[in-house]
Symmetry: C2
Subunit: 402 residues, 2 copies
């Protein structure tokens, strides 16, 4: 029997190979700090489960494919509060942000079509692109300058007849990069000039530090037809286990395609939608304490990293990740050693190898991603362990160090 090439091309997350080693470490009684995944530790706000429990239908029925009216209405109000003029008819509820991305790729690309996206990139983009037979083309950015976009000319040189869209994650995963007004303008101009969609994945929208103002292609009055917002409640409300995402757009022709994709899978979870309505109604002050907490952790991690010789990393302005260049040759080898060999006071850390975040097969070999989703005390401890580990690694494997 034939297994499809498109799924054979897909990759399993590199992280998976470390889990058996984590089990071994735990058996040895070692404590592991998990800095590898973006699973927030913040409590899911009570209104979600309260609404879920209060919802007692006789029959759990198919819901409108585009999403229940109450959730689209609450979402519209949320966007209005951000200054974005999206009505309930501009909003499609999806099974998480990942389905929002899949539907976006399927509706703007045919097999072989291309999407430009800054690299390092959210690794799941690669898998969705493979499943949808879409070619992702990386706009290479670098840790040394905080993952700034290259010049407009350099980006334009990557546009071909097959290019259908530019896709950004803003704030970025894995980089924590927040795009500047100038960078967004540059992408906007290119999307107009070449009739491309501009897809803005903003699932970390609220995670902005240093009092940065929210900036989005959706604010650009010149390109309402071009902009596709991808969104999710997962990070914003610490509700990854509820699968509620959003595609938000003004383009009528594209809406028709998105609607058909929604109809294809009939419905999104009734209960998750009911719970999410209450979350969308939380006011901006809900985020203030959370941002304060993440901001504090971010400072601790940055202090910790600065102390380690040879580490290259600019302070990220958003999301809850650090993309860090380490003074080593191969991050995957270092991470495997960290979890299987190393311990400091019987504790160690798990990091993400960065090669998953690159299209370039040579990209990210000496980089790791680190999520600050543990409390401040644990983050501080984890940074101390990382420092000790790099010292020990340099002695154990001098040939693997820079």
């Amino acid at each position: 029997m034939h297994i499809s090439k498109r799924t054979q091309k897909m990759c399993q997350p590199a992280l998976l190979k470390y889990y058996p080693l984590v089990e071994e470490a735990k058996k040895k009684g070692r404590k592991v700090y998990f800095l590898n995944i973006g699973q927030p530790d913040i409590k899911t706000p009570d209104p979600f489960l309260k609404a879920v429990c209060a919802h007692q239908p006789k029959v759990l029925e198919y819901q409108t494919p585009e999403g229940i009216l109450a959730l689209r209405t609450a979402s519209s109000s949320y966007y209005q509060r951000l200054g974005l003029n999206y009505t309930k008819n501009d909003i499609f509820i999806t099974n998480g942000g990942s389905e929002a991305l899949l539907f976006t790729f399927l509706s703007i690309c045919d097999p072989g079509d291309e999407i430009l996206t800054p690299e390092p990139l959210y690794s799941i983009y690669k898998e969705i692109a493979a499943a949808a037979n879409v070619k992702l083309v990386g706009i290479r950015t670098h840790a040394e300058d905080g993952f700034a976009l290259p010049s407009k000319d350099a980006i334009e040189a990557l546009i071909t007849k097959q290019t259908r869209a530019i896709l950004i994650t803003n704030p970025g995963n894995p980089t924590g990069k927040v795009f500047s007004k100038e960078e967004l303008n540059c992408l906007s101009e290119l999307s107009v000039k070449h009739a491309l969609f501009l897809v803005s994945d903003e699932v970390y929208r609220e995670f902005l530090y240093e009092n940065l103002t929210y900036l989005s292609p959706a604010q650009d009055q010149k390109i309402p037809e071009q902009v596709i917002l991808v969104d999710s409640i997962s990070k914003r409300y610490s509700a990854c286990g509820a699968r509620i995402g959003f595609i938000v757009l003004k383009n009528q022709a594209l809406k028709e395609s998105i609607k058909k994709l929604c109809q294809m899978r009939l419905s999104v979870s009734e209960i998750d939608q009911v719970g999410a309505v209450n979350l969308m109604e939380l006011e901006a002050d809900f985020f203030q304490s959370i941002i304060k907490e993440y901001s504090y952790r971010r400072a601790i991690v940055f202090e910790g990293l600065k102390k380690i010789p040879g580490v290259i990393c600019k302070m990220p302005k958003g999301a809850f990740y650090f993309m860090v260049k380490l003074p080593i040759i191969r991050a995957d080898h270092f991470i495997e050693w960290l979890i299987s060999e190393f311990a400091y006071e019987n504790e160690t850390v798990l990091l993400s190898p960065a090669d998953d975040f690159y299209l370039d097969p040579e990209g990210g070999k000496d980089e790791v991603r680190l999520a600050y989703v543990l409390n401040a005390k644990d983050m501080q401890k984890a940074m101390g362990i990382l420092e000790k580990a790099l010292e020990a690694y340099k002695i154990a494997f001098p040939e693997m160090c820079k």
Copy 2:
């Protein structure tokens, strides 16, 4: 900007066009019996919402992409009770049966590949195939002989170098057809001879009448590597609003592909999975009263249809649909008239036009699908209305009648 050809090829359900007319009918004070969709009226069993309310995690977290262990374990027990030897490692939980189908199509077909399936077919198959760039090839069956499969030679003649699988819905939607042992053997032999997957969509598995025994390609010891079961809790437990489906298979290479697709979308709803565990543990006697109820309705509908001159329809053996040939030229015209013009004692019925259920653009023009998902009394009334309606239609539009 470019809208993809694949989504432009997709169709909106023909039914949608009637909804504005339904609103008009309601405004006139008319009662409408909705026989058009397979949304069961049976109460969702209490254990679902009880489990949901009892589940009070601090954080709604990403769950294992393949589905939570408790649900895969409970599902394995369910399959063991049916005599199918599937372990928790053979089971993938999906966002409803529709995602199970999408992942199946993506993992066994590359763009341009073909899947054979009896026609009339579940209309969503067409949409999923279009989104996945898969070509569906119909094995034409007919109301006159209860939608029996044609000869083995006739089916084999449809197999090309691009054919990757045979897909059946058993019991069938929209036909209510239950495949015989001989028919299943024929498909099994063809799948072995041509190295095809045999996909069995069994979401109506329990809806078998006349004490029929459950038969499935999954019972065939000769083709464990070939069989892919597609399943869902939607119909079985009257829980369409919970999005819980299943892909069940033994083929190790294909499992790798399915697993990557599951990882691509991270997780299925935590809450829906927790609720579903309890449903999977309901014993067979749970179904007995439901089957009795549907069996009773089925008899009422069949009695009603038999009375109407010119109606062609064999008694379906499973699911909860009748696919009925009416003595008219165009079902869509009749349905539109039913809902916008006709009323009997200020009541009318909404039916599904059958052309959605065909690949053949000429198929089903004189057929409708009718779901018996209302209580017996309402079904009886609805059949009376249909009889009166056909009489009146013949007078109003003799040229549209046979």
